[in-house]
Symmetry: C2
């Protein structure tokens, strides 16, 4: 059984038929929506690499998936998003208070699952989990702060996506390895692989939001342009633009009366003229190369590394 | 130094001057508002009873205070409450998204503090904390559910306030004793004392909401009557009323056009005629007596029990 099949089965077996229904039904609804189950899979993959027992890493793997879905649930409230994975979000299907309280309970459930890991590794697993969870909240706050700041630099953006996206993947890998008994150097290499792969993945997401094919990308493109999100793409364009282009870009992004498709087309044309796509692809490659170099450091056989090499390639092979 | 002075000092020393300010400033604001610091004090009192080291119980005590304030912060969002301890609530002073995200971070901070307890007791402390936190969310959901249910019984109400109020006091006492090395029987007796004292305390709060003096009660009276909250007072009145009185009471509570003070006076008169106050005082006494009987079971000297006997008396001595 693959790691993903293993965690998918375990997620399906979690029992949310508890009382009061108003608290637990939205949790079951959220977790049944599917998704790649990437984070718990990474924990099991890391454990497999060090010949760990899958049932010993499972509670932590499940905690990561429940935690990830908790962040999506509360983020959707804060973003007033109405659809998630093709279904109404919890605050739309129920109401905002339900989304807040059931989300809180999901965070507690994540810790309840985590508390089931072996006692000898529990203090360290818990410490790393708390650090990761804190960084994700910090990343979310920076993301909000950047919306109204006009001095955001590319390095600020990279710091923010590291916190908001990368640390969860990195924690999943490190935690899986730690429970399986891996040493510190191996844990660190896997953590760093997770950080760098996460950065490359988020950069590609930003790129596909501009140049992607809506059908294969899975969502409409141009969303970041319409909300003037300060992504790597926009910040790079601003940095390399002439004064004239920078003014034009600023006016385009601030224009509230302009037709959406026209705005997307005009901004994309500027990006293309400034070679922003190429710059983003180079940055992605840089982080992917670092990720693969971290795998080289691992004290396991090449065959065992293959799954993470392929995963990095697969995550980054999403085409326009 | 008393237990309360000890925890007050430690709470004041917590550092919330961290970045991003938008995440941590509301946490510092919330925790600086004061309050009785009852829950962390109970943890230290229980530890003192078993000659525990205060610095060893402190992380769990602080976790309880941060957790309690997290519940208040999110409850205030859900209740749309604008004032807490005489100051604007976080969602009023900042905004709702800030209250959600900073609240989430407070819950994570509670677990970060908790993770610092001694490794040999951490698994059990964490397990008990998760159970308590889950019960509090369940209690909050039942509280919401009861607003729109018309079949709520007195025992349902007692179950709800046990979850929403008592388990946190009970957990504080048990956790303090556990970290100090108390045996299971002592832990259970303290837990039960906390449950019963919490019930008596909440019943008194309900009673004072009807018969209290607003100046000494600390808030306006009649709030439960105006929102037709199904408290012990109302449920007892409904149970002992004649059909005629029951209809009158229902009509009064549902009347949206009636003057508030007139409504409070009319409902209070019905309560008085039905001896609801006496019934509530008897129920309070019942739970206080059980609480004191639990203290009898403790394997510590009478002198060491005195502080909890006095605390129960003090909590319940709030007069109209």
């Amino acid at each position: 059984m693959t790691a993903t099949e293993y965690v998918q089965q375990a997620i399906a077996e979690l029992d949310w038929q508890r009382e009061p229904r108003g608290l637990y039904e939205p949790i079951g609804y959220t977790l049944s929506a599917g998704g790649k189950r990437l984070r718990p899979s990474l924990a099991v993959i890391a454990s497999d690499m060090f010949d760990g027992k899958r049932e010993e890493v499972l509670p932590a793997a499940l905690a990561l998936e429940v935690f990830h879905n908790f962040t999506l649930l509360h983020d959707d409230v804060m973003d007033k998003a109405s659809v998630r994975r093709g279904r109404p979000t919890v605050h739309v299907r129920w109401n905002e208070n339900t989304a807040i309280l059931s989300g809180d309970q999901m965070l507690i459930e994540a810790y309840s699952l985590l508390s089931k890991v072996r006692a000898d590794v529990l203090p360290e697993v818990l410490r790393l989990f708390n650090k990761m969870a804190t960084e994700i909240c910090e990343g979310q706050q920076y993301d909000v702060d950047f919306e109204t700041r006009d001095d955001v630099q590319i390095e600020d953006y990279m710091m923010m996506i590291r916190l908001k996206t990368s640390v969860l993947l990195a924690n999943a890998l490190q935690t899986g390895a730690l429970i399986a008994g891996a040493g510190e150097a191996d844990q660190t290499a896997l953590y760093n692989y997770g950080i760098e792969t996460g950065l490359a993945f988020q950069l590609q997401d930003d790129l596909l939001d501009v140049y992607g094919n809506p059908e294969t990308f899975g969502k409409a493109t141009g969303g970041d342009i319409l909300c003037a999100k300060k992504t790597f793409m926009l910040l790079t364009a601003m940095q390399s633009a002439s004064d004239r282009e920078r003014n034009l870009l600023s006016r385009l992004l601030a224009d509230k009366s302009m037709d959406s498709q026209e705005k997307i087309a005009a901004v994309t044309e500027i990006y293309t003229g400034l070679n922003v796509r190429q710059a983003c692809e180079e940055e992605m490659k840089k982080h992917t190369d670092i990720a693969l170099a971290e795998l080289d450091k691992l004290s396991v056989s090449s065959e065992k590394k293959l799954i993470l090499i392929k995963l990095a390639e697969k995550l980054l092979a999403r085409k326009e």
